[in-house]
């Protein structure tokens, strides 16, 4: 098992929480669909950071492997999500989510 980390894991987790919240705020307040999508990426990253930090604390490599899978799934998600955005833009001529309320009751 490696030496104890030079910086306390708690600092990494606090930073993760802050960055995650900023991603949440981005999803809630931005109206450009691409910006919302980027904010989701911003939320995924601190989750990965927390996983790597705990992997380091535990001396277990499994946390890092989960991050590897998260990054792979994020790549797949971005490919499909951006294709969706392009398709929506072609039909509606906008990606402002306030304009896209066709399913509103």
């Amino acid at each position: 098992m490696p030496q104890p980390p030079a910086v306390d894991i708690q600092n990494f987790v606090i930073l993760s929480a802050i960055l995650f919240i900023m991603g949440v705020v981005g999803v809630l307040i931005r109206r450009n669909a691409i910006m919302i999508f980027m904010s989701v990426e911003l939320m995924l990253n601190p989750a990965n950071l927390a996983l790597v930090a705990f992997a380091r604390q535990w001396g277990e490599v499994n946390g890092q492997l989960i991050v590897f899978f998260v990054i792979t799934v994020a790549a797949a998600e971005v490919a499909v999500g951006l294709a969706l955005i392009v398709a929506i833009f072609r039909t509606k001529q906008t990606i402002d989510i306030d304009e896209l309320h066709a399913m509103e009751g």
């Binding site: 894991i9 708690q10 960055l19 981005g26 910006m35 980027m38 992997a55 590897f68 072609r90």
Partner: protein, 421 residues
């Protein structure tokens, strides 16, 4: 404050600042560039946390491939300034910010009160393997606390490392039951074991037990190999450890023989008494001829012993039954891999191709599905538009036909048109 802590706080401020700039900038291209800065900061944290492989993945896949895709779509759609028009849901922004503030207070409370930094990992279970070096004995089944734990261990063979819960085990070695044959349960019939031993297993240790000695009076020797399996500084070396398992013997030396001249070279182990285990010796990888020497006599030899890098090997000096006679021999136990450096690409790769093989395959299938999905999504759009156009032209043709019929029948045109609709 240590250098690491100062670096951490500088990069943390950059990460939070770039995230804030990403959220507030009106131009989506600027936001994407700020997000790249944020990803680079996270990659730096990965490096600080002994995850160099993930740091490289973060840079290449996230900051590279994914952000290029984002940039491409922003440019393709001309979406730099979209989403800045009149606001429909003005109450969402203050409410969202309020919820975020509540969330961050709760998260801080949990993190600080949970004392995350002082949590301790659960210790690993001890691991053990058994080597059969008892001359003249049959293959062995091994019962730990009266439960069959390992079966059919042949002479000169070794089991894999197995993990068991820590504790004290009373171990009996019984002759193995031949494949397919039905044998009486030695525990139920109270059979006499070939050998018995007590294993005391502490957490976070690796141990090799060597069954050796005289056929009439077997001995079980304990070799603590925790150090043997620890990370190796020089990755081209191999570790060698020797045990003198002869029942009665003067101290012996283990010597490397020079293959060209056949004379004794480097002495690996000096005067190893009977029943003792040497310290591990690191040797460069390669093929060696090793010989046990007592005084001037060559007792036994392990010839053409291949040492692979990053492996740990155990060499046992014991006896073998040769008909009625018994002579000394040297056994090299099948080597095991030394632990990899934490978070190294090798360690990640080994885990990916062993423990995580199924998720790895599933994720590759998911990527394939995502690729197909992206193509279908864009193709579907084209086919749908074609279909729409066809509906429109068919409708127009029908109206025209109705108009022509109405003109011929002198019926008022408006009625025909409404019926066509």
């Amino acid at each position: 404050m240590s250098l690491e802590a100062i670096l951490f706080f500088i990069v943390a401020v950059i990460a939070v600042g770039s995230a804030a700039a990403m959220l507030t900038s009106r131009n989506a291209v600027h936001s994407a560039l700020f997000l790249v800065v944020n990803f680079a900061c996270v990659a730096f944290f990965y490096l600080m946390l002994n995850a160099p492989f993930l740091a490289m993945i973060q840079i290449t896949v996230y900051a590279g491939a994914i952000m290029v895709l984002f940039m491409f779509v922003i440019m393709l759609l001309g979406a730099e300034k979209l989403g800045t028009g009149p606001v429909h849901y003005a109450w969402l922004a203050p409410l969202g910010s309020l919820l975020a503030a509540v969330f961050i207070v709760v998260a801080m409370f949990v993190i600080v009160n949970g004392k995350i930094g002082s949590l301790q990992p659960v210790p690993h279970d001890p691991e053990l393997r058994v080597v059969h070096a008892l001359p003249g004995a049959p293959a062995l089944d091994i019962y730990m606390n009266k439960v069959k734990a390992l079966k059919t261990l042949d002479y000169t063979q070794a089991t894999e490392y197995v993990r068991v819960p820590p504790g004290r085990y009373f171990v009996n070695f019984y002759p193995a039951c031949a494949n397919g044959a039905t044998c009486p349960d030695p525990i139920a019939t109270n059979a006499k074991p070939v050998a018995t031993a007590v294993f005391d297993l502490a957490p976070e240790t690796s141990t090799i037990y060597v069954v050796a000695g005289k056929p009439a009076a077997p001995q079980v020797y304990t070799v603590n190999t925790t150090q043997d399996r620890s990370v190796m500084a020089d990755e081209t070396n191999a570790r060698v450890r020797a045990i003198n398992a002869l029942p009665e013997s003067a101290p012996v030396n283990l010597v490397v023989i020079d293959p060209a001249t056949g004379t004794a070279g480097q002495t690996l182990v000096n005067s190893l008494p009977s029943g003792k285990v040497s310290d591990p010796v690191e040797l460069p990888k390669g093929t060696y001829d090793l010989v046990w020497i007592r005084g001037a006599d060559r007792v036994a030899a392990s010839n053409d012993l291949r040492l692979n890098p990053k492996t740990a090997e155990l060499i046992v000096l014991t006896q073998e039954a040769n008909g009625a006679a018994i002579r000394d021999t040297s056994i090299s136990v099948e080597p095991t891999l030394v632990a990899e450096t934490f978070g190294s690409p090798q360690q990640i790769g080994i885990s990916l191709l062993s423990t995580f093989l199924l998720p790895f395959e599933l994720v590759s299938l998911l990527l394939l599905a995502a690729m197909v999905g992206a193509i279908i999504l864009t193709r579907e759009e084209v086919t749908r538009r074609v279909r729409e156009r066809r509906v429109v032209t068919e409708g127009a043709l029908r109206i025209n036909r109705a108009r022509a019929e109405a003109a011929q029948a002198n019926v008022p045109q408006t009625n025909a048109e409404s019926s066509a609709d």
